[in-house]
């Protein structure tokens, strides 16, 4: 276990280094990427731009700039170019909304993904399976901004059953918290439900043909017990791995579109706004924050995997 943790920490450091370097370099090569010109405004003279570049350090070699930024990130004093406010504080402010979105949606898509997948697998090829399969493919292939907009149109604009956006902290008013998050949760979940249900359906159908499932029946176990204890138990292991990574992605601010459509002012929306104005420091921090979450989640999944499937060793 200790060896595992050390190895994972080492891997995490490498991932963070690479991710931060690539992110930093991207902004050096994209057009209009020069932060000094952007900070100086449209009507700035070359002299003014040069002065800004000098005071922010944009005129120094790239690797110096990179190290400089990284140093600030790790001391928590990194400032955004456009708003000139502390990026870490800004992210911290967005976290409750993002975490609320991730936990609610993650729960919904896991439960419904499993339910729909199980329903499909009961009688494969029959009407129910084909209908659910069609719906799953539809939801997988619908972009979340379409799903989100359609949901907004029907539930907020046409009928005003639900609010059209914004975030209310859970501690302020739990009911309003749910009301504001319901549409984002569902819109974010739909494609995941489609995908998970298809994966689970396949796993269940594969597991049903395994010898140990046949043997479980030969032992005289009831079909429900065979399904739950032998078929499902084995089919859910890969689902758990998928869920961990997807969940980490959303908590890491990956639900950029959903957060923006519903104006949740979470980490993802902050990322979206920063990208629009090519504000490098927040983007760097968010990307690295996401990477850390994904790496940690992957490690947790590996530990869980080894626990759930004893054939897997952590030290392999």
């Amino acid at each position: 276990m200790n060896r595992f943790i050390v190895r994972r920490a080492f891997q995490a450091a490498i991932v963070l280094g690479l991710v931060s370097i690539f992110t930093f370099l991207i902004f050096q090569v994209i057009p209009n990427g020069d932060p000094a010109a952007r900070l100086a405004g449209r009507t700035a003279t070359p002299e003014q731009i040069a002065a800004i570049a000098r005071s922010w350090g944009f005129d120094r070699p790239i690797y110096i700039q990179y190290l400089h930024t990284m140093g600030k990130i790790f001391t928590g004093s990194v400032i955004s170019y456009t708003q000139q406010i502390n990026v870490v504080d800004q992210i911290r402010r967005g976290l409750p909304a993002t975490i609320s979105l991730a936990i609610g949606a993650g729960f919904i898509w896991l439960v419904f993904g499993i339910l729909v997948g199980l329903l499909s697998s009961l009688r494969p090829g029959r009407l129910l399976d084909r209908t659910l399969g069609f719906l799953a493919l539809t939801s997988i292939s619908s972009p979340v901004f379409v799903i989100g907009s359609v949901a907004l149109y029907f539930f907020a604009y046409r009928t005003s059953i639900l609010p059209s956006g914004g975030y209310v902290p859970l501690t302020d008013n739990p009911l309003h918290w749910v009301e504001h998050l319901l549409l984002p949760w569902i819109s974010l979940s739909l494609p995941f439900i489609g995908f998970y249900s298809r994966v689970l359906r396949g796993n269940v159908l594969d597991a049903k043909h395994e010898d140990y499932v046949r043997m479980a029946r030969a032992k005289g176990l009831s079909s429900r017990r065979v399904l739950v204890r032998h078929v499902l138990r084995n089919s859910l292991i890969p689902i758990m791995a998928l869920w961990g990574l997807d969940f980490a992605g959303v908590i890491g601010g990956g639900a950029i579109l959903i957060e923006s459509i519903f104006d949740l002012r979470g980490v993802g929306q902050y990322a979206a706004e920063s990208i629009q104005v090519l504000d490098v420091p927040p983007i760097m921090v968010i990307v690295m924050y996401t990477a850390v979450l994904v790496v940690i989640m992957a490690a947790i999944i590996d530990v869980l995997y080894a626990y759930l499937d004893p054939r897997i060793s952590l030290n392999a």
């Binding site: 010898d211 029946r217 030969a218 032992k219 005289g220 009831s222 079909s223 204890r229 138990r233 084995n234």
Partner: protein, 350 residues
């Protein structure tokens, strides 16, 4: 026929499957019986319907594309038409199964003890701890060392022989009256195949459990069986007590099987005799006798399906599906003084 004397009585069992290539009749009008405590060996080539027949006895082949006719009576209960509930009670409790491949028949993510205990608890009203104690006892009995600690291990931590011993322990766990073992040693190392089979047979004799043993190995049949059923192309072609089958085999296919057994008491000939040709397709089986296309002794009548009948007055339980008359059979089956199937092209049909 069904007078209730026998532990298991299969009467005219037919099992067919609707497949993409057509209707496959995997078991074709099979009838046999088994007495309590008896060991019955079921012999035949791959694809002859042995596994389908044994799994169908306890409803394991039930599927949307499967259809059944005939009856299977176990201890007064008809199993083919029995509801799933009844079968669940009988499976594992009264009729236990030992699978072909113990590598894949155990759930990889559950502890061995849990897998034995769950069967015990499905059939008897005992608590978890008690079921575990029983599992330890069983593992001890089938020769797994340190059963108390090994019970917490997972499948991949056991060798092939140990896994099959676990399956035997599992089969014995609810004191069944019948164990169906489907080629229980084909997946194992040759060196321990005989050992495991003998252990299984001994345990059955000790406990008075009847055993249906599916096997390819005539050496095993000679040593362990009380009675033998020979299958070919989905049909039972011959059944007899083990002595009658070896001394007075009636079906040419049985002759071929007996003739192809290696003998250590004879000088080794260049090649083992084989039966020319391949087993029939069950989608488009030959009309009449399924063995006729490979049989050197076939004649006009072989286009009719031979009935599974007792043809020898002194051996009432000895039944076969062959139209040849008994005297002719006794002459034809001798190849160089030994029982065997004459080689060479089959006589052409008139």
């Amino acid at each position: 026929m069904n007078d209730g004397k026998h532990l298991l009585e299969v009467d005219d069992l037919t099992v067919s499957f609707e497949t993409e290539v057509g209707r496959v009749r995997a078991v074709d009008h099979a009838s046999f019986f088994l007495n309590a405590g008896e060991i019955l060996c079921l012999v035949g080539e791959s694809g002859s319907g042995k596994s389908v027949m044994t799994s169908s006895l306890i409803g394991l082949t039930r599927a949307e594309n499967a259809s059944f006719s005939g009856t299977v009576h176990y201890d007064g209960v008809e199993l083919i038409s029995a509801p799933e509930r009844t079968l669940e009670r009988i499976r594992g409790g009264q009729i236990a199964v030992i699978p072909q491949d113990p590598m894949t028949a155990l759930d990889p993510v559950l502890r061995i003890g849990d897998q034995i205990a769950e069967q015990i608890r499905a059939h008897t009203d005992v608590g978890r701890a008690e079921a575990f104690d029983r599992a330890v006892e069983l593992m001890d009995r089938v020769g797994i060392p340190q059963a108390r600690t090994r019970i917490r291990a997972f499948v991949h931590e056991f060798s092939g022989g140990m896994r099959q011993r676990i399956m035997i322990a599992m089969a014995l766990s609810c004191d069944p009256r019948l164990i169906v073992a489907d080629e229980p040693t084909t997946a194992l190392d040759v060196t321990i195949q005989a050992q495991i089979l003998h252990e299984l047979a001994d345990l059955c004799r000790e406990t008075g459990t009847a055993l249906i043993l599916v096997t390819h190995d005539f050496g095993v049949v000679a040593e362990l069986a009380d009675r033998v059923v020979v299958m070919y192309g989905g049909r039972i072609v011959e059944q007899a007590t083990v002595t009658d089958l070896f001394d007075d085999p009636q079906h040419p296919y049985t002759w071929g099987l007996l003739g192809s057994v290696p003998r250590v008491d004879r000088p080794r000939s260049a090649r083992l005799p084989t039966i020319a040709g391949a087993p029939p397709s069950l989608v488009r089986p030959p009309t009449g006798c399924h063995f006729a296309p490979r049989c050197p002794h076939r004649f006009e009548r072989c286009v009719e399906v031979p009935l599974l009948e007792a043809r020898l007055p002194r051996q009432p339980g000895h039944r076969d599906r062959c139209w040849l008359n008994v005297d002719e059979k006794r002459r034809l089956r001798l190849v160089g003084g030994e029982i065997g199937l004459a080689s060479g092209a089959p006589r052409t049909l008139a």
